[in-house]
């Protein structure tokens, strides 16, 4: 006689079939979420992410990197190389895969357990088959999928933030590197002027026309100019290496050449009127905070509706320690509402919801302030750079012309002429720095509108720390 297990088992089988169906829905997307990240990045940086190349180096990627590095590198080219080549960003993008795997996993119920026992004795054999289901898991599938979907969305936002930040940092590094190289070149001219003075002084001393004191003064100036040149050259190297790190280049790739000069100032500065509303629409950290609030709202709704589902920890952002990798996660707990009808849970859920609402408001307020500050920096640097270009440099040019006229009239000597040449070079260098500062401020403004307000701002923002686990992808300045 064979005894079969009872009908609940059959029901469970039916449920299992349903679960399998559900599980089938939660399959991996073909792009692993990269399309969305690429679209967000592209909308904010003008550069998309190369999807296929994100996972492994392809010949095409390397060919493009080589092509970009082969010609004098532009700011956009540098950003492109960084987006293609920066391993930190790749690591961040790999995080997408982790999140998606979690999402898929959440849609699948745990494999049912099968038990089989056969007992014989007394001429009778009893075979017992058992199918075991993770009933709790089954019940929580919709909840888990919902949560994981949001987490996946959050991961996409975080990855896009990383990409946008990397793009911004790379642009800044490019401007720094070009300006530093230009400054080093001018430092060389200063040294040349100083050397000419010193050489002339030496020859004057040899001809008996210059005292040892005056001769030494000219020599020490030249010697100082040499030291200054060494510093300027190191600055240029350091700025270039910073760019190389962000682009993730090494070996022969580091032989890239930069454009010789910074781009000209735009004819007019951009209008600052709509930057705040733009930031509200486009900032990824604000969107992330909103997503977080939505998640807690959902959890609150669940808690209110059932009283025995606790997803209160979902979406909770652990902000405990800076420096240490941040963790976020959730916990679902089904409880039997025997002694506690969930009043406390609902209260806690409400409190957590309010917390995330405040965090979102905080993120938005901070973002607005950051973008205002960034616009002020942008505008000031634009005006300064234009002031240098239109006022200071032409005035210095006029001074140099007039100085030469005075030299022509033997009203001043050659040393004064050379001192003026040095002053002119110094002012030109300051003008280049003003131009560089403008472009960096421009990039920072873009970051404040589009990304997360730049590296420094991100560190100060609580909400954007959702991206904390991949912060290492974007080295801080």
């Amino acid at each position: 006689m064979t005894r079969y297990t009872s009908s609940p088992m059959l029901r469970a089988v039916a449920t299992g079939a349903l679960a399998a169906l559900l599980g089938g829905c939660a399959s991996f997307s073909p792009d692993g979420g990269l399309d969305a990240v690429s679209a967000m990045t592209s909308a904010r940086t003008g550069q998309d992410l190369q999807l296929t190349q994100a996972k492994h180096d392809s010949g095409a990627t390397q060919a493009e990197v080589a092509r970009l590095l082969g010609a004098p590198l532009t700011a956009d080219g540098a950003v492109r190389v960084a987006l293609l080549n920066n391993r930190g960003l790749r690591a961040s993008l790999a995080g997408l895969g982790v999140a998606e795997a979690d999402l898929v996993q959440a849609g699948r119920m745990r494999n049912p357990g099968l038990s089989f026992s056969r007992m014989s004795g007394g001429g009778e054999t009893e075979i017992e088959r058992g199918v075991m289901f993770d009933l709790v898991g089954l019940l929580t599938i919709p909840i888990r999928r919902d949560i994981e979907a949001r987490r996946f969305q959050g991961a996409k936002l975080a990855a896009a933030m990383d990409a946008v930040r990397l793009a911004a940092d790379t642009r800044k590094a490019w401007f720094n590197a070009v300006a530093a190289a230009q400054s080093a070149q001018y430092a060389e001219q200063v040294r040349e002027a100083a050397q000419a003075s010193a050489e002339l002084a030496r020859r004057m001393a040899r001809a008996g026309n210059l005292s040892a004191l005056d001769g030494a003064r000219e020599q020490v100036f030249s010697a100082e100019a040499t030291a200054q040149l060494a510093r300027a050259r190191h600055q240029a190297t350091a700025a270039r290496e910073q760019l190389a790190r962000l682009m993730g280049v090494w070996g022969a790739q580091t032989a890239f050449t930069l454009l010789e000069r910074l781009p000209d100032l735009p004819a007019a500065p951009r209008d600052g009127d709509n930057v705040e509303s733009l930031a509200m629409r486009q900032r990824l950290d604000v969107q992330l905070a909103k997503l977080d609030a939505q998640a807690t709202a959902r959890a609150l709704g669940l808690s209110k509706a059932t009283g025995f589902v606790n997803v209160l920890d979902a979406g909770y952002v652990n902000t405990s320690k800076t420096g240490a990798p941040r963790e976020q996660g959730y916990e679902i707990e089904l409880v039997l509402p025997i002694f506690d009808w969930g009043g406390a849970r609902v209260a806690k859920a409400e409190a957590l919801y309010m917390q995330s609402v405040h965090r979102t408001a905080h993120a938005a307020t901070s973002a607005r302030s950051q973008v205002r500050e960034a616009y002020s920096a942008y505008r000031t640097n634009y005006d300064l750079a234009r002031h240098y270009r239109d006022e200071i440099v032409p005035l210095q040019k006029k001074i140099s012309e007039e100085t030469l006229l005075r030299y022509n009239g033997m009203l001043i000597g050659v040393f004064e002429l050379l001192a003026d040449a040095r002053a002119q070079i110094t002012r030109v260098t300051a003008s280049i720095e003003a131009q560089r500062d403008f472009w960096i401020a421009e990039t920072a403004l873009q970051a404040a509108i589009n990304g997360s307000g730049g590296s420094a701002a991100a560190a100060a923002s609580v909400v954007s720390s959702a991206a904390g686990s991949v912060d290492a992808a974007a080295p801080e300045h």
């Binding site: 000419a196 002339l200 020859r203 001809a207 008996g208 005075r406 033997m410 001043i412 000597g413 040449a421």
Partner: protein, 463 residues
Amino acid sequence: MRSRRDFFTGAAALVGAGLVSRAGAATLPEAPIMSSAATQPPPPPPNGRPYNPVVTLNGWSLPWRMNNGVKEFHLIAEPVVREIAPGMKANLWGYNGQSPGPTIEVVEGDRVRIFVTNRLPEHTSIHWHGQRLPNGMDGVTGLTQPGIQPGKTFVYEFVARRPGTFMYHPHADEMVQMAMGMMGFWVTHPRNPAQHRVDRDFVFLLNAYDIDPGSYTPRVNEMLNFNLWTFNSRAFPGIDTMNVRRNDRVRIRVGNLTMTNHPIHVHGHEFEVTGTDGGWTRPESRWPEVTTDVAVGQMRAIEFIADEPGDWAFHCHKSHHTMNAMGHDVPNLIGVDHRGVAEKIARLVPDYMVMGDKGGSMGDMEMPLPDNTLPMMTGQGPFGGVEMGGMFTVLKVRKDQKPGDYSDPGWYRHPPGTLAYEWKGEPPAALRKQDAGGQSMPAANAPEVEVTVRKPTGHQGHH
């Protein structure tokens, strides 16, 4: 030039007193204005006692009005634009359109009434340097009179008692007002025109300004580092020449209102100092000279017979007074080898040109200068650059210069055999003395200084 004003045409063409009100015209003589910096030929006196007029180098004499036997002059102290030389103008303060102001010529014994209208932004006064006059007419603000406030007119009246050579200048805020060019010449002719009579009588003041190259207004706080040294506020080559007829008796009267002395030197002739601030020198006290030092605040009248035809230099013998603005701290590059360095400097300063390695002369270089700046040493003569500036002009002695004709006769044409010429033969080897000169006090330890002298070989290209 002040176009709003009419100006002289020819000798002593005068204009009306545009600045004096109709009501004041009844009592004030007209104040003629001069807008040209050219030397005005002397006008004969239209009334009053006769005299032989002087020629104010690059200047003019002030007309007067006779009023009941009193010679009335009207000076207007005012800002003016003076042409220092073609290519350079200066914002100065002066009188009646020019700085220095017009020469006042009177005759010994004349009663003189001078109206002084102040159109300056500050008070002024006029001191009649060297005159014997009532103390209250001496023009020292605070001491003998209150300052003439802007817009006010004061009257000075005295008898020109002593014949001779004088000046006038403010004795109010002197440092500023004289640095700005407020001064003028005064000649009191002897009652007898035959006394001290000469054929040509030139007058000018020595003045100095500090006008920064590229600017137009003198720095009024300068004490000694003036950069423009001028005769009547004109710098060579902007100064007129003194043109005389051969065998003319020539008098040149010089007054010094700078802050240093000026050894005035004439080429080709000896002269005698016939007059000083104190009057005419006695003939037995005179001795012949070719240079006379005119100290600060002094006047000198020198006289000579211009009997040597030619173009004779006439200048202050302080060499930096025959330069225009120059740098005091220009390094000495004489003998300094520029090879290699010049190219390096030219890379930084594209229009750079080596100067001074063979001396200060800029020769024929023509390089752009700051605005309103005269070249340091300039002026072209018949044989090239004269390499002079500032207190330098030329005495031109010609046999056919008509009496009363002060026009420029052009360059002197040297009779054959009277012009320096180049030796074409082989130069003999130089003989050098090897000892160190006088041995009365030989040095115990001669310092071992090795000085290398680089001599031009004649084949060095000009940089």
